[in-house]
Amino acid sequence: MIQGVWWRIAWRNLWRNRRRTLITASALAVGFFGAVLMVALDDGIAAEMVDNGTGVLTGQVQLHAREWRKERSLYATIGGDSGTDVAALLARVRAVSGVAAAAPRVWAGGLLSAGDRTEGVVLMGADFALERGVSRIFESFIAGGAPRERSKELAIGAELARKLAVRTGDVVVVVAPAADGSMGNDLFRISGIYRTGLQDLDGAFAAMPIATLQSLLALGPGRVHEVAVGLADPWAAAAAARATVASLGAAGHRDLEVAPWTVFSPQMNEYVALIKASNGLVVAIVFLFAIFGVANTSLMGTYERRREFAVVRALGVGPGGIARTVVYESVALGLLGLAAGAVITAPVMVWWHHTPLNLAWLFGDLEVAGALVRPVLRIEYGADGPILGAVGLLVTAVLAALYPAVRAARVPPADALAGR
């Protein structure tokens, strides 16, 4: 009841100098706008990196045999030497909520040779139809297209094609140590050449139909090294991985490792964590500028009202009451600024989110932490920005009022009333 009175007084006091209040509230509103936008842009960069880093090849979640990630051994297939029912495994993974697609993969190291040129490459055996939902690498052909199912065809990167001096239609030799100790070797036709902008993929990577690679490596059709999973929301990878573990555990697959990108791409995860950590700093800097402006206004207000405070004191209000009025005023000002900030921020956010600023005319694609980042300034909605902004704004309002409040509380009533 008494509290309500103090708030009401604070609110009324705000409007005694309308112009000053509006200007100060605007400063806070613009601070909020800036903070939220900066955080959203940072989140946009992180999202762009994760979308591309996981979307080009790896997928957002990967399933492997437990020992796979340590050595990437040819023998570390899912289900061990006997392999697994790949179709059933894929069906089970696809049934997990949040999973958009799943594709099996076989991996090997090998040589590609054309004429007198030979390069060491990573060989991927893929189901190109299923890859569509998981990876974008096979959407970036600059010549030709993906190998046909079960064919002896090969897709390679533009840089590798340059190093081998081959083009689509040319024949290359592929050599890879097979699981039976022999040296798998065969002739392949280049079906397509892609360019991703990522050095490793463009320069030392080749993909062929999964059944073809299995046969080259003397692996049975049930033996795959990886199931890559595409999710609708990359940020839900950890939860999707847990759900997958639960679902597969129920089906008896206990020797599998289910890793979200945060685990299999620790570098990218750290980069994202760094971006998130810097958000707090961004907000702190924005409001550090605002705090002095608000403190100045508040201090001026208290000087002007020395007589008023003296009268109130003379009427029996303690110094704490005076201080409280000043702080309440500032908080009310902050809330006003927050409301105004929300009103100006929301439409800009929505507009920018839907029409990201494309700086492609200014910069080429960038490779950051192994992920391709388009030079597009996009912003992401998130709770982080608004919450950090609001907290920053209100903390600013309170901190800015503390010193003026102390000054106001110390006004000696008799001296002030006497005009001294």
Binding site: Y75, T118, G120, A179, G181, M183, N185
Partner: protein, 257 residues
């Protein structure tokens, strides 16, 4: 990163010509002794039949091969059995290695980046073929032990790479019998002093008039159950061979000459 030291590659593919009397000369430096062992086991030229057995955690296999060599610069190895692998061949000329794949009838030159890769699925690397005879150039050689071991008079040589040498081993230790200059074992260490692999020589036999270890086994230190063993069945020295023989055309011939 494994690399065999030249002497052993020499032992492997190029048994020696200069049949030095297996007698210890006075005032020889360790370097001179190692060089003499090296020359003894090599030759101007040689031709032989060998069996290479490879045992890994996942499979074991055996390849029968015929080998030719000329000096330190040339070597040709052709698989003759099993039928599935027959015709597969490796040609070494100086620092370069080519592999012939009969199934696709293509020859592949091993790129520099893959010289440390496995040779024919064994525990030897392509580089082992190439880095022959550089031992005394690339390493400083000291005697680590001299005396009797298990009743046999031996030297133990400690080889440390010269500062500028482009070698992968941090240290090589090997034991040589004094009486006949036969190597008995070698141990290969990385730069941090960890044992990387061991090589054992045994079954010393006389081919022609020359005594050589007819069996050698390499074992990776991190996988003691794995090994590659080479056994010579037959070996001739000073056969008439010329550099022309070590051509890409010979490499692709399926019949052994």
């Amino acid at each position: 990163m494994r690399r065999i030291v030249p002497m052993h590659a020499a032992t492997l593919f190029v048994p020696a010509l200069l049949l030095a009397a297996p007698v210890c000369r006075a005032q020889e430096t360790p370097r001179e002794i190692v060089d003499r062992v090296d020359r003894m086991l090599r030759g101007n030229s040689s031709r032989g039949d060998m069996v290479m057995e490879i045992a890994t955690e996942h499979w074991t296999r055996s390849l029968e091969m015929r080998v030719w060599s000329l000096g330190t610069a040339y070597a040709l190895v052709r698989v003759v059995a099993p039928p599935k692998e027959a015709g597969t061949a490796t040609l070494k000329v100086n620092d370069e290695v080519w592999n012939y794949l009969p199934r696709v009838d293509r020859t592949i030159k091993v790129p520099p980046s893959l010289m440390m890769g496995s040779w024919m699925g064994s525990h030897f690397t392509n580089d082992d073929l190439v880095k022959e005879s550089r031992m005394i150039d690339d390493y400083d050689i000291a005697i680590g032990f001299e005396g009797d071991r298990e009743g046999v008079a031996v030297w133990e040589f400690v080889l440390t790479p010269k500062p500028a040498a482009a070698v992968v081993w941090g240290k090589v230790v090997e034991q040589v019998r004094k009486a006949d200059l036969m190597p008995t074992w070698g141990r290969y260490y990385d730069e941090r002093g960890n044992l990387e692999r061991t090589m054992a020589f045994s079954d010393f036999r006389t081919f022609g008039s020359r005594l050589v270890p007819s069996v050698m086994t390499v074992r990776p230190a991190d996988k003691p159950d794995e090994r590659t063993t080479i056994r010579y069945r037959q070996l001739e020295f000073d056969v008439p061979l010329t550099p022309d023989f070590f051509s890409l055309r010979s490499l692709q011939e399926r019949r052994a000459p």
